[in-house]
Structures are given as structure tokens and as C-alpha cells.
């Protein structure tokens, strides 16, 4: 067995040192890391009592450079894993690296005045966001369950700390505690899943896992290891479901969203969710595409699990959101509902290899959702002065007229979240649902159409509570006076979000193209998926000639 593994390793060129070109894979992550390190150095010399705005801007610029670097690396991607099969360097990873950087930058922009008003103007805050972004960048690039898990924790732990950053505020501390305990709990479960997978397949490399799992199916049924693998897959899946806040693993979200610092909630709800989706896509497609594990159409595999999760998230997220009084809590449940919508697309696009390209709808949705949600939380953060923060619907009374720009931004973000044209949210939902309908028509399976109908119905319910925000902002009297944080940062951030939301709704062409390119350049997919990709993209770059894995004899 060792011989066999080694021969495969040879194929991956694992025994040769990484070539210079592979170092490119590190660039976005390295930039953010470098920014973080420089940040510490500068922060040491920070004069006490002066605002830290310049540090925030420095981080934003750093993240902007990281995002820009993905643009320049877009054509330098590699068709095989790098660093001994530890990382992928493809457009899919770059796409999400850019998304994470932008989301981090926007969240940081919203923060300086917010922190000052809470008397928590500390450099660690920005540092933690930066480090979390580093984790995200490596998480989507992970080609090995171990890289994945390490990156997963690098992403999560700063977020736990950030959730409790307002440590004088009891709710913030409570939120952090809950998030940490539950997060650690679910990470443990996930780790256990990884261990089981390792036990079943003898490897942690995603492609090897995918390869080896095929041999669990033997002529007379399934190998005993199959069940071990199945349990492992479900446990790993639960780790992702926890991060994307899908029912029933969403249970932490409302409490944590309500208590955490508002800009961080925007970051949590957008970037963390997007990255978790991306990593889940990578792991599930590369490692667990094996047909009887995948299931689909109630063949009882992970697709069916996600199918149920999608339905449950849409229904529960929307229903409970209706009854909330607290806007942040409402947005928490709405983010659960959005996880459900995205899962609809996820389930449809991955239920069969031939639908793989429909994943671009998910990418577009995540981009649209990111700007919408950061914009909404940005507006809340703008009205988030210590002791007089806008929390309930009543607090929003008349704010739309008093602060027209913020009202407009909130309106656009809510329209986008509700899926009303001409915002990005509408097109995103349209693409997600049409990909599910497409899958349904092509397979003749009604289940997806049922899921789409459920999705449309629940999003109609969603319109109620999204528009309620606007009703209060424009049609109800102000009950209390609020002094907004008079700072340029959140203004710039939310206006940028609103403009992008409208832009993506009216001119979606470029973003769709990028999503499509990112999906077409998805590396590591099994042969069935790869052939679908190749059909969509007949021009194969010359470095992609040698396949990553060659067929070999059974492992177990």
C-alpha cells in the first residue's frame, strides 16, 4: 500500500520542491498576513488617546491590495495542487479570496467610530479581522482536510474573540462565550469526521479521498468502511452547516448576531458564510462526489441531507424572522433563510455532475448577498452609538427622512435581500431558482421544483419583514432621538455596498462572467465533473495536460 501511495505522490510531484510558480498561490494570503504584521508594528507606536482611523485605513488599503492581487493573478492559475497537494491555486480560490478581502475591508471601514463610541478603540480589533481574512483565503484554497481545518480555525478563532470584543457589554461577552463553546463543539465534531474519513480512506488529501472512496463499493454491496466514511461525511458537513447557519445548526446565530459588535456581524454574516459555502463546495465535490455517498433525489446521501436543510432553513428562517422585534435578530434569521436559498442552488447544482456549472449562480448569490448584508449592518452600525443604538423596529422611526442617504442605502439593501428588481438580490434569486428548475426539468425530478416553490413562497413571506424596516424608517414617527456616528468610514462603506448592489442588479454581466470563470476553473473535480467543465471550456491551458490522479488499484 505504501508503494502505491508513493507512486501517486510521484504523480503529484510531491517529492520535488515546490517550483517558483507555486509561490504565487500564497500571494493574496501573504499580503494580508504582511499587513497584519505591519499593523502590529505600527500599533506599538500608536500614541495613546488619539484615534486609530489611520490604522483602519491602512488595513483597508492592505485588504484592497490583496483583492487587487487576485485580479493580477487571475490568469496565472495552476491546474494542479501546489505545495505537495496542500493548496489549490485556481480562480475559484482567488474569487473567494477577493470576496473575503473586500468584505473584511468594508467591515473595517464601518468600525473606527463605532469602537470609539464604545470606548474600545483598540488595535487588536483590526488585527483580528485581518487574521480571520487570512484564514478565509487559505480555507478556500485548501486541498487537504488538514489545511482546511487549520485554516478553518484561523478564520474562526478571531471571530470568536471579535464577537466578545465589547467586553464591558454583557451581551457581547455572552455572545462570544456561546459562539466559542458551540463553535468549538462543532469544530470537534468536524475534526472527528476528518478522523473517520482518514480511517476509512487512509489519506487526508481531498483528491485521494475521492479516489479511494470509490473502492468502498464492492461487488456484493458496500465495504464495512463505507459506513465509517458516511458518518465522517455527515460530521464534516455539520461543521460547514454550523458556519453557514443552516437549520438546525443555526441555533447560535440569533444570540451571537444580537450581542456581537454590529460591523463584525456584517462580516460574520457575509464573509464567513460565503467562505464556508466555498469550502463546503470544494470538499464535497472533490472528495465526496462518490455517487452512493452523494445520493440525491432521496437516494439518502449528503445531497439529501442538504436538501432537507435547505427547506428547513428557508421555512424556519423566514417564519421566525417575522416575529422578531430586534432588527439585528431579524437579520440573523434572514441570514438563516438566505443560507437556505443558497443551499437550494447548491443542492441542484451538485446533485449530478452535469449540473456542476450551475454553481456559478451560488457564486453570484454570495457576492450579491455579501454587499447587501454588509450594507444593512453598516447602516445599523452607523446608528450604533453606545447606549443609544438602534435595535428595534421602533427605533428606526423616521430615520429614513432624517438621514436620506442611510435611508436609501437601507432601502436598496432590503430590496436586495427581499429579491425585488432591479437589485442584485433579485437576479441572484432568479439564477438560483432557475438553476434548480433547470436541474428539475433535465432530470424529470419534481423535488427541486417543489423546493423552488417553497423558496418563492418563503421569500414572499420575507418581503413582509424586510419592508417592515422601510415602513418604520419612512412612515412611523421617531420615538427617540439618535445621534449617529458622524464618521466618513461607514458612510463610504454603505454607499459602496448600495451602489454595488444596484450595479450588480442592472449590469450583472461582468460579475456573472467572473463567477462563470471561477467555476470553470475549479481544480480538483472528479473526472465526471471535469468532463462537464471541459465541455464548457474547450481551451485547455497547456499546463493542465497531466491529470492530477491516475487510476490505481484499490486501496483497502
Amino acid at each position: 500500500m505504501l508503494n502505491m501511495q508513493l507512486s501517486q505522490m510521484n504523480n503529484l510531484a510531491m517529492l520535488t520542491p515546490p517550483s517558483a510558480i507555486e509561490l504565487n498561490a500564497l500571494i493574496p494570503g501573504a499580503i494580508v498576513t504582511l499587513v497584519a504584521i505591519l499593523f502590529i508594528l505600527i500599533d506599538v507606536f500608536h500614541r495613546k488617546g488619539t484615534p486609530r482611523d489611520y490604522l483602519a485605513y491602512f488595513s483597508v488599503v492592505g485588504l484592497g491590495v490583496a483583492a487587487a492581487s487576485t485580479y493580477f493573478l487571475w490568469d496565472d492559475v495552476l491546474a494542479r495542487p501546489v505545495f505537495f497537494g496542500m493548496l489549490y491555486f485556481d480562480r475559484f480560490a482567488l474569487f473567494f479570496a477577493a470576496l473575503a478581502s473586500v468584505a473584511g475591508g468594508l467591515a473595517i471601514l464601518c468600525s473606527p467610530a463605532f469602537l470609539r463610541s464604545h470606548r474600545m478603540d483598540r488595535g487588536e480589533y483590526y488585527l483580528l479581522v485581518l487574521l480571520s481574512v487570512v484564514g478565509m483565503i487559505f480555507m478556500v484554497a485548501a486541498a487537504d482536510l488538514l489545511t482546511l481545518f487549520v485554516a478553518f480555525e484561523v478564520m474562526s478563532i478571531p471571530i470568536y474573540v471579535l464577537a466578545g470584543f465589547l467586553r464591558d457589554d454583557g451581551r457581547s461577552a455572552e455572545a462570544a462565550m456561546k459562539y466559542f463553546v458551540l463553535g468549538a463543539f462543532s469544530a470537534t465534531i468536524m475534526l472527528y469526521g476528518i478522523a473517520l474519513i482518514y480511517g476509512a480512506t487512509g489519506t487526508t488529501n481531498l483528491e485521494f479521498i475521492g479516489h479511494n472512496l470509490a473502492y468502498l463499493q464492492v461487488a456484493e454491496g458496500v465495504h464495512a468502511g463505507y459506513w465509517m466514511a458516511l458518518v465522517g461525511v455527515v460530521l464534516i458537513l455539520s461543521g460547514f452547516a454550523f458556519k453557514i447557519a443552516a437549520v438546525p445548526f443555526h441555533i447560535w446565530a440569533p444570540d451571537v448576531y444580537t450581542g456581537s459588535p454590529t460591523p463584525i456581524v456584517g462580516f460574520m454574516a457575509s464573509a464567513v458564510k460565503a467562505i464556508a459555502f466555498a469550502a463546503m463546495l470544494r470538499v464535497m465535490v472533490v472528495a465526496f462526489s462518490f455517487e452512493s455517498l452523494r445520493g440525491g433525489f432521496f437516494g439518502y446521501g449528503w445531497i439529501d441531507v442538504l436538501f432537507v436543510l435547505a427547506g428547513a432553513s428557508m421555512v424556519l428562517g423566514n417564519l421566525v424572522a417575522i416575529t422578531q422585534n430586534n432588527v439585528k435578530r431579524m437579520l440573523a434569521y434572514s441570514s438563516v433563510a438566505h443560507a437556505g436559498y443558497i443551499l437550494v442552488g447548491f443542492v441542484a447544482a451538485n446533485s449530478h455532475p452535469s449540473f456542476f456549472l450551475h454553481n456559478d449562480a451560488i457564486l453570484f448569490y454570495l457576492v450579491a448577498y455579501t454587499f447587501g448584508v454588509i450594507g444593512a449592518f453598516g447602516v445599523l452600525a452607523y446608528f450604533g452609538r453606545r447606549g443609544e443604538a438602534v435595535e428595534t423596529y421602533e427605533d428606526l422611526g423616521n430615520l429614513g427622512f432624517k438621514y436620506p442617504v442611510m435611508g436609501l442605502v437601507m432601502g436598496i439593501c432590503m430590496f436586495s435581500a427581499a429579491g425585488i428588481p432591479p437589485t442584485a438580490g433579485f437576479l441572484a434569486k432568479l439564477y438560483i431558482f432557475s438553476s434548480a428548475v433547470d436541474a428539475s426539468i433535465q432530470t424529470g425530478e419534481f423535488a427541486f421544483i417543489g423546493l423552488v416553490i417553497l423558496g418563492v413562497l418563503t421569500s414572499v413571506a420575507g418581503v413582509y419583514y424586510y419592508l417592515k424596516v422601510l415602513v418604520y424608517m419612512y412612515m412611523k414617527p421617531a420615538l427617540r432621538e439618535f445621534r449617529p456616528l458622524d464618521h466618513i468610514g461607514p458612510k463610504v462603506a454603505v454607499v459602496a455596498c448600495a451602489v454595488l448592489t444596484l450595479y450588480l442588479g442592472i449590469f450583472p454581466g461582468r460579475a456573472l462572467e467572473l463567477s462563470r470563470e471561477a467555476i470553470v476553473d475549479f481544480v480538483g473535480a472528479p473526472a465526471a465533473v471535469q468532463s462537464v467543465i471541459d465541455q464548457a471550456n474547450p481551451i485547455v491551458p497547456d499546463f493542465a495536460v497531466e491529470p492530477a490522479v491516475v487510476a490505481a488499484e484499490p486501496v483497502l
Binding site: V234, I251, Y300, V305, L319, V320, T323, L430, S434, G509
Partner: protein, 709 residues
């Protein structure tokens, strides 16, 4: 043929953009801008658009090539502003197309539109919300240009709705007068009925063919292998779109809104309800000509609707006493002529009439506006008379307009109306020429399924088709006579004879300012000469060689657009040119004009007491006409009242069943469910962890349990 400027003729975007800019500037800043600036901002875009259109026409001519049979083929210019959604079959481009058809319309819209804008600067000079008026007017032109320039049905439909909205806003411009506001509402609601049908037709077309692009559709409709697909839906789609067009173009049965629409400022009536918007229906049918000619039954319906509308509206116009209402019914009647032309397959004649009608009817409306302006908003012609000595220029230009619409030779109306009339006589459907049959797309299909009344041997004309066309011609001729009569009744009662206004008004009657007179003079000039591009063939045959081509300019210009409908379809004229019929039609229409004008002169100048005597004798007929055949009352009884009743019923249903039972019920259930689920959120971390574990166990159980058997 490949278009020279394949998809990047940016001027098309500019044509559309200019009026939009004008509307935005005046709409946002107009209230604060000085009056002169408002005028310039309103008029300049029109002129610029007109110039850009001329550039477009130039480019169109430049890319024209001589194709088979000596036909000069120009193709089209197009420009895509942006592609909104592109994913699979769903695509909605905002793109424009300039071909000879849309170029003709755009030239009319921007050219006549410019003149009317200039006129408005005088007419609306005293109005405090002039900026609002100009903003709406520019917006209207923008929407109209979208309608005409659209490269697909979607853009056309956006424009279609846009002109509806602007028409509503402008009819109800003086919204403080509740009657005028109600007129705007009526126009809007009646149009909605048509729009609904139009949209439905569009959907059927889209779901059957998967495209709404005119170029793609016309390729489908003119290709032998794909046309059977369209033949099946030609009738339903055509009828639905026809209903939409009857709404917009005020034809039976949806014409009732146009007379009431005269409540708006008079230049609006001239621009929207005479020259441009109401011809949109004719334009759309011409644009989809390859669809309409697929089914002869459809064409016949269009022709009959047009002919009947023309006749009925003309009879109503005879007894109207409001200067603008006479013109409104005359517009409906002339639009009927255009529909008749379209219905008999004489598309060129229809567009020709759209053009000439735009000139002389705009002229008449503006002249009427000048009269109303001079008389201080008096519109009743019984209180006018003898105005020729007070407003000479208005009188002369109005007379030219009347002569043109009456169909007096050497004025534009004669040429276009004559072309329609003799087309009605000679374009007999189902006429079959062997060569055409052989060359055509799916003639077998036509003979067997679509067209049961078509003679399979196909040599002779079906007799009743001849009779129907003869009837169309006869009724058309009668309408022409009536037209001449009521127009000159209007002219004589307004400008000739004794002035019947009271002394106070008389003192103030004055000629209008230059800004109003100059457009009148320009339009009067155009009303005379516009016809010289479409001489009857029988006259052209006697012309010198060099003049023959310009004398038939309109036909050559539009030939390319209607090529398939005229050459490869069952409708239209085949074979040698029937000079005899043409001469007959000319004689008939000249005679009709002479009789009509003569009668009017006799009744209103020579023996002015006679009309009252006739009215006395024919009391019943008079009453019917005066009440417009009681159509409004009929609609009120059969459509409005039941709708109101239904509305009340729906309100009750909505209030108690939908709202009470369903919405509140659903809300209650959702909220209760939400409340119950909310209790899961206890805030207790250990319990949360338990939930997660339980969920995991449940999932694993569900996955593994089925395999245990």
C-alpha cells in the same frame, strides 16, 4: 446582407437620450430655471435628435445595395445599449434598430415634435408650471422613440407603456379640473385593456419562438422551414396585438378615450393624439407585417375594423360643435384609414398616410390651438365665425390643412388617401399568381389547413373577397366625402361668415405670437409638398424619366421592409399594375372631395338656415350622432358598471375572505409557528449543543436506517 454598422451605431442611443436629458433637466431644475432656459432645454433636444436621425438616414443610405430585381436594400442599423439579463433563453436587451420604417417614424416624431415644442413655448407661455409640461412632453418623446426604435418587442412595450403614462399625465395636466383629470384616467384605463392583450400576445410569441427580437422573428417568419411554427399562432397573437393597437390607436372597440383626451393642452393633442402616439398601433402592425400577412383572416379583420372606425367616426364628427372634438373624431377616422390600408396589405400607403396625416393634422390642431388661444379658451364653433379678419395667418394655414385632409389634388392628403383607397380596391386577398405560389414558403400549408376559403387551384379570386374589398373601397370613398364635408363645415363655421362671439370676447381676439405662427407655416408647407413623394402610378407613367423615381420615393424607400409581405404572401397585389382601377379611384376621391366641400359650402355659407332645418327633420339620427351612437353609455352599462360591481364584490371578498381569513390566518399560523420555534431559542448553550447533537443523530439515523434492510 450584412449591416455596415453591425451593432454599434451610437447615434441611435443619442437620438433617444436627448429628449430624456431634456425631461430630466426640466423635471428636476425647471421650477428654478428662468422661462427662456426652460424653452431652450425643451426644444434643443428635439432638434438634436432630428439631426442625429438625419445622420442615421444618411448612414442607412450609405450601406444600401442594389439587390435582386433592382430593389434597393438598406438593411438596418442597430445599437445595443445594454444586455440586462443573459442566461440561457432569457435575454432582454435594450437595443435599438433604425430601418426605413422606424426612420420615417422617427423623422416625424422629432421633426413635428420640434415644431410642436416651439409652438408650445408660445401657447404655454403664461402657465406657471410650464417646466412640468415640457418635462412631460420630452418624456413622451423619449418613450415614443423607444417604442419606434426598439429592436425587440420588450423595448417597444416599454415605450408603449411610457407613452401611455405620459399621455395620461398630459391629458390630466390641468389636474385641478376634476373633469380633465377624469379624462386622463379614462384614457389610461381604456389603454390598459389593450395593453393587457398586447402583453399576452407578446408572451405567446415568446413562448412559441423563444425570441422577441424583430430581426430574429422576421427571419423565422420568412424562412420556409420555420414559418409553420408561426402560422399556428399568427391568428391568436395577431388578434391580441391588434386589440392592443386598437386601444392605442383609438379604433373600434377601444376608441372612446380619444375624444375625451382633448381635455389636455392643445399642442399635446397635436403631438400625441394626432401625429405620433395614436399611430403607434399602425406602426406595430407594420413592424410585425410578416406575422400579420401569415393569416388572411387576420388581415381582413384589421381592414374591416379600420374601415368601420373610419366611417363611424366621420359620421359622429359631422355634428360635433367643439372644435377639438371634431378634430379628434377626424383623427379616429383617419387612423381607421391607416388600419384599412394595413389590413389590405398596403403597408406603404399606411405609413405614407401616417406621415402626411402627421403634418396636416398637427397643423389643424395647432391652428385650432391658435384659435382657442386667440378666443381665450373658447372651443365652441357656434360661438366663432368670421375669424379670418382677426387671424389671417391662422386662417390660411388652417384652410390648407382642411384642403389637405379633404383630399384635394396636389395637397398631401390626396396622395396618401388615394393610395389607400385604390389599394383597397385592387389588393384583393387570395389572388393567386402561379409564380408567387412556386416561390413562396409554405403554400401547401396555406392551401390545406390555414385557409379553408382559399381556392386550391388558386387561379381566381374568391368572389366574396372581391365583394368585401369593393365594400371597403365604397365605404372608404363615402368616408372621404364625409371628411371633406365636416372639415369644411368646421372651417366655414370658424373662419367665414359673421362673428358670433359676444362683444367682450370680440374685442380681445388677436393673432397668435410668432412662436406659434412659424410652426403653422412650416407645417402648412409640409402639408402641401409631403405628398409629392407618392404620386399615383398612372400619373407617373406620363412623367419624364428623371422624375419617375423621386415621384415614387416613399414606395422605394419602404420597399425593403415590406418586401416579403408584398411578394410572398397571399395578401397584396399581384401581376400587372391595374392602371384602370387606379384612375377610377382617383376620379372617385376627387369627386368625393368636391361633393363634400360643395355641400359644406352650400349648407353653411349659401343657405346657413338649412342645417337647423335638417336637424329638425332628422331628429332621431341627429340625436344618435350627437350622442356618438351612445357608445359611452353602452360601455358604461356593459363594462364599467359590472366592473364596479365586481370591484365591490372583490373588495368584500378581499376584506373578509382574503384579508380576514387567508392573510390574517396565514399570518396567525406563521406567527404562532414562529413563536413556538422561538422558544427553542432559550439562550441556554448546553441546550443548543444538545439540539445540534440530536440533529446529527437524527440525520445519521435517517441515512443509515434504510440501508439496514
Amino acid at each position: 446582407m450584412e449591416p455596415l454598422f453591425s451593432n454599434n451605431f451610437h447615434y441611435l442611443g443619442l437620438i433617444v437620450l436627448m429628449p430624456l436629458l431634456g425631461a430630466i433637466i426640466n423635471g428636476l431644475l425647471g421650477a428654478k430655471l428662468p422661462s427662456k432656459v426652460v424653452n431652450v432645454v425643451a426644444c434643443a433636444p428635439m432638434l438634436l435628435s432630428f439631426v442625429f436621425t438625419l445622420i442615421g438616414v444618411r448612414a442607412l443610405l450609405a450601406q444600401g445595395v442594389e439587390s435582386e430585381g433592382g430593389r434597393f436594400s438598406m438593411g438596418y442599423l442597430s445599437y445595443t445599449v445594454y444586455e440586462w439579463i443573459y442566461s440561457g433563453s432569457l435575454s432582454a436587451d435594450i437595443s435599438f434598430m433604425l430601418d426605413p420604417l422606424s426612420a420615417t417614424l422617427v423623422l416625424i416624431i422629432t421633426g413635428v415634435g420640434f415644431l410642436i415644442h416651439v409652438y408650445s413655448t408660445g401657447y404655454m407661455a403664461q402657465d406657471p408650471s410650464k417646466w412640468r409640461y415640457f418635462s412631460y412632453l420630452n418624456l413622451f418623446v423619449f418613450a415614443m422613440l423607444l417604442l419606434v426604435l426598439g429592436k425587440n418587442l420588450l423595448v417597444t412595450f416599454i415605450g408603449w407603456e411610457g407613452v401611455g403614462v405620459c399621455s395620461y399625465l398630459l391629458i390630466g395636466f390641468w389636474y385641478t379640473d376634476s373633469e380633465k383629470a377624469a379624462a386622463g384616467m379614462k384614457a389610461f384605463v381604456v389603454n390598459r385593456v389593450g395593453d393587457f392583450a398586447f402583453l399576452l400576445g407578446m408572451f405567446i410569441l415568446f413562448f412559441t419562438t423563444g425570441t422577441i427580437d424583430y430581426v430574429e422573428l422576421s427571419e423565422l417568419a420568412t424562412n420556409a422551414s420555420t414559418v409553420p411554427l408561426l402560422i399556428q399562432i399568427a391568428l391568436p397573437v395577431g388578434l391580441l396585438i391588434l386589440i392592443g393597437c386598437t386601444g392605442k390607436s383609438a379604433q373600434i372597440p377601444l376608441f372612446v378615450w380619444l375624444p375625451d383626451a382633448m381635455a389636455g393642452p392643445t399642442p399635446v393633442s397635436a403631438l400625441i393624439h394626432a401625429a405620433t402616439m395614436v399611430t403607434a398601433g399602425v406602426f406595430v402592425i407594420c413592424r410585425l407585417n410578416w406575422l400579420f400577412t401569415l393569416d388572411p383572416r387576420l388581415m381582413l379583420t384589421v381592414a374591416v375594423i379600420g374601415c368601420l372606425t373610419a366611417f363611424f367616426a366621420a359620421t359622429i364628427a359631422i355634428v360635433q360643435t367643439d372644435i377639438k372634438r371634431v378634430l379628434a373624431y377626424s383623427t379616429i377616422s383617419q387612423l381607421g384609414f391607416m388600419f384599412m390600408a394595413v389590413g389590405v396589405g398596403a403597408y406603404t400607403a399606411a405609413i405614407f398616410h401616417v406621415a402626411t396625416h402627421a403634418f396636416f393634422k398637427a397643423l389643424l390642431f395647432l391652428g385650432a390651438g391658435s384659435v382657442i388661444h386667440g378666443m381665450h379658451h373658447e372651443q365652441d364653433i357656434r360661438k366663432m365665425g368670421g375669424l379670418k379678419k382677426y387671424m389671417p395667418i391662422t386662417r390660411w394655414t388652417f384652410l390648407i390643412g382642411c384642403l389637405a385632409i379633404a383630399g384635394v389634388p396636389f395637397l398631401s392628403g390626396f396622395y396618401s388617401k388615394d393610395m389607400i383607397l385604390w389599394s383597397a380596391l385592387s389588393n384583393v386577398h387570395f389572388l393567386n399568381i402561379e409564380g408567387v405560389m412556386a416561390a413562396d414558403v409554405v403554400m401547401a400549408y396555406f392551401t390545406s389547413t390555414v385557409n379553408p376559403f382559399f381556392n386550391a387551384e388558386g387561379v381566381e379570386i374568391v368572389t366574396w373577397a372581391k365583394i368585401v374589398h369593393g365594400g371597403l373601397f365604397g365605404l372608404g370613398l363615402l368616408t372621404a366625402l364625409l371628411t371633406a364635408f365636416y372639415m369644411f363645415r368646421l372651417y366655414f363655421m370658424t373662419f367665414e361668415g359673421e362673428c358670433r362671439a359676444d362683444a367682450e370676447t370680440k374685442k380681445h381676439i388677436h393673432e397668435s405670437p410668432d412662436s406659434m405662427l412659424i410652426p403653422l407655416i412650416v407645417l402648412a408647407f409640409l402639408s402641401v409638398v409631403a405628398g409629392y413623394i407618392g404620386w399615383p402610378h398612372v400619373v407617373v407613367a406620363f412623367m419624364p424619366e428623371a422624375l419617375q423615381s423621386p415621384a415614387l420615393l416613399i414606395e422605394h424607400w419602404l420597399d425593403d421592409v415590406f418586401y416579403h409581405s408584398k411578394t410572398f404572401r397571399l395578401t397584396g397585389r399581384f401581376g400587372d399594375h391595374p392602371y384602370g382601377l387606379e384612375a377610377l379611384a382617383i376620379a372617385g376621391s376627387v369627386g368625393a372631395a368636391a361633393v363634400g366641400i360643395g355641400t359644406a359650402w352650400f349648407l353653411y355659407i349659401k343657405r346657413p338656415e338649412l342645417p337647423a332645418w335638417i336637424a329638425e327633420r332628422a331628429r332621431l339620427a341627429f340625436k344618435w350622432l350627437e350622442n356618438k351612437y351612445y357608445i359611452d353609455e353602452l360601455y358604461d352599462r356593459i363594462a364599467v358598471q359590472p366592473t364596479l360591481l365586481l370591484g365591490q364584490l372583490s373588495y368584500w371578498f378581499d376584506r373578509y375572505i382574503i384579508d380576514g381569513l387567508l392573510v390574517n390566518g396565514t399570518g396567525f399560523v406563521a406567527e404562532s409557528a414562529g413563536k413556538i420555534l422561538r422558544h427553542m431559542q432559550s439562550g441556554n448553550v448546553q441546550r443548543y449543543a444538545t439540539y445540534i447533537t440530536l440533529a446529527l443523530v437524527f440525520i445519521l439515523f435517517a441515512l443509515i436506517y434504510p440501508a439496514c434492510f
